[in-house]
Amino acid sequence: MKVAKDLVAASATPMVLGILAEGDSYGYAILKRINELSGGELDWTEGLLYPLLHRLERLGHVESSWQSVAGERRRKYYRITSGGLAELAEQRRQWDAVVGALKEIWPGSGETRPLTAVLRGGFA
């Protein structure tokens, strides 16, 4: 099973911001981490990741810096900013609402919790 394209796109921003909230990272590592987290079911491409990173940079959610690794190679590292953390919190609130609502209508898919508890306790 592969996750539909629209859903991948919609979840892309919180996913990347969430990974960067764990620590600074670079493109290839971010992609690997997403693969790992989703067990390979999220079909991310470079064409999705890098323009997204650039957009987040333009919006001020992340900042980037070039660092040299292994000889002449340069690598672009991304760091989440305070604005990005705020955005992540906001996105998370919205996703919690969506996930909570879905869990309400789909009883039996995992543990069922009342909607209010989901909202209060969060998704984690």
């Binding site: 670079y26 493109g27 290839y28 590592a29 992609l31 491409t45 470079e46 064409g47 999705l48 890098y50 323009p51 997204l52 650039h54 957009r55 333009r58 070039w66 190679r73 340069r74 690598r75 672009k76």
Partner: protein
């Protein structure tokens, strides 16, 4: 092992070159994607793949470059537009110094050209009255600066610089050594032909890095077309500026007429020659060339007009009224047809099969030839009757040169449409023919005045 590593590096270099051609991707994007690719390759090699296999798989995984570029373009749509920034707009620090130096060199040459136009005034020449001086010398005052800029940019060798100096010195002789009256035919002829001859000297500077290559010569043809378009655009802008200078200063009771006529116009026109040349050089890879686009638009229209002319001529059955103006008009017509041919050649994919547009061009050239033969028949009759003048001889010579070019072009075009001859033959013919124009221009400027007794 090191051999394998070298192969891999070569593959990366090739990939970089391939990616850099995409306008949507900047240097930093390429670097970022390359780092990604290298990460991917390393992982695959650690899993046991050979270097070249790992590279192939990694590139394949990255997906098609078209798709990648499209995604980048959605985020960076501005990259598809402007990009012509004064300092080159590069985000690569390694090449950052060069555009700035280039800008400086351009400003220097433009100012030099503008000043050169004013220098003769120190010795009593007057821009508005001394037509006999400024006419033949206009090219000599301005074009060396453009040639200098191009030669500097191409890092021209000693030989090229020597040739350039010799050509411009020869031009100075042609412009000033002969005693030509201001109202003589020769002064006008020299002015026009010396300008053409010196433009080809600029061409020598343009192809300085590889003078014999037909590709470079074709590049000079492209350069000429784009330069002209840019010059016209700058002139339009200058016109707007002039209008505002007049309008605003007149509201406060000052008359800027003298300033505009003596400074703004001559200096602006001279400086713009260099600026337009620099613009063409700077934006080469940024904007679609406009001259070929205009060619596409006007080739069908000109073909229709020429065919209509031939049909009308056939129906009415009257002769062609060949005054001197008519001969010049038909010369210009041939030049335009040649230009249309040349610029569509310059933009044509050499490997593309012959298409309907090539047939249309054949029709254009053949109808222009037919008209010209009619005109030539009429004019030679008149010359044998009344004797010749410098103007007639020059116009006739030009006609013959253009006719020869177009006739052979038509033959090659026919071969191409019938798939007998490759397109390259036509291209080579045109680029090899370029020196003929220069040669004729020199002949008219240097030999005609004494030949016709400075008439």
């Amino acid at each position: 092992m090191t051999g394998e590593q070298d192969d891999l590096e070569a593959q990366f270099a090739q990939w970089r070159q391939y990616v850099r051609r995409r306008r949507e991707l900047r240097q930093t994007d390429t670097d970022e994607l390359e780092d990604h690719l290298r990460g991917s390759v390393e992982e695959l090699r650690a899993a046991g793949l050979r270097a070249d296999e790992a590279f192939l798989v990694a590139v394949k995984r990255m997906g098609s470059l078209d798709e990648l570029a499209r995604e980048f373009a959605r985020e960076h749509s501005e990259r598809l537009w402007k990009q012509l920034v004064l300092t080159g707009g590069t985000d690569d620090p390694a090449v950052g110094g060069r555009p700035r130096r280039e800008l400086l060199a351009m400003v220097l040459c433009a100012v030099g050209a503008a000043v050169s136009v004013k220098v003769p005034e120190l010795f009593g020449a007057d821009f508005e009255r001394d037509g006999a001086f400024y006419g033949p010398n206009a090219g000599l005052l301005v074009l060396p600066w453009l040639a200098a800029f191009l030669a500097w940019r191409r890092r021209a060798g000693r030989v090229v610089v020597g040739v350039l100096l010799a050509l411009f010195a020869l031009g100075a002789v042609a412009a000033n050594a002969y005693p030509l009256a201001e109202d003589s035919q020769s002064v006008v002829l020299t002015s026009i032909h010396l300008l053409i001859a010196l433009w080809f000297a600029v061409g020598v500077a343009y192809v300085a890095d590889d003078p014999r290559s037909p590709r470079r010569r074709m590049d000079f043809v492209r350069f000429t077309g784009e330069w002209f378009v840019y010059y016209v655009l700058i002139a339009l802008g200058g016109g707007v500026l002039t209008v505002f200078v007049f309008g605003t200063f007149e509201t406060i009771g000052a008359s800027p007429e003298d300033f505009v006529g003596r400074w703004l116009l001559p200096c602006g026109a001279a400086g713009a020659v260099v600026v337009a040349g620099w613009l063409v050089e700077a934006k080469q890879s940024v904007v679609e060339n406009i001259a070929p686009v205009l060619t596409r638009l006007f080739t069908p229209l000109f073909t229709a007009v020429l065919l209509a002319f031939l049909v009308t001529y056939g129906v009415t059955g009257g002769g062609i009224d060949v005054e001197r103006e008519a001969l010049i008009l038909f010369d210009l017509l041939l030049a335009v047809v040649l230009g249309l041919l040349l610029y569509s050649i310059s933009a044509r994919d050499p490997l593309a099969p012959p298409g309907p547009f090539d047939k249309l061009q054949l029709a254009l050239v053949v109808s222009a030839l037919a008209i010209d033969v009619l005109v030539l028949l009429a004019i030679t009759g008149r010359i044998t009757e009344y004797g010749t003048t410098p103007n007639k001889a020059a116009a006739l010579g030009e006609n013959v040169i253009l006719l020869a070019n177009l006739a052979w072009s038509a033959w090659l075009l026919l071969g191409m449409v019938r798939r007998r001859a490759p397109f390259a033959a036509l291209e080579r013919w045109q680029t090899n023919y370029l020196p003929v124009y220069a040669g004729w221009a020199w002949v008219v400027a240097l030999v005609f005045p004494p030949l016709f007794g400075f008439l």
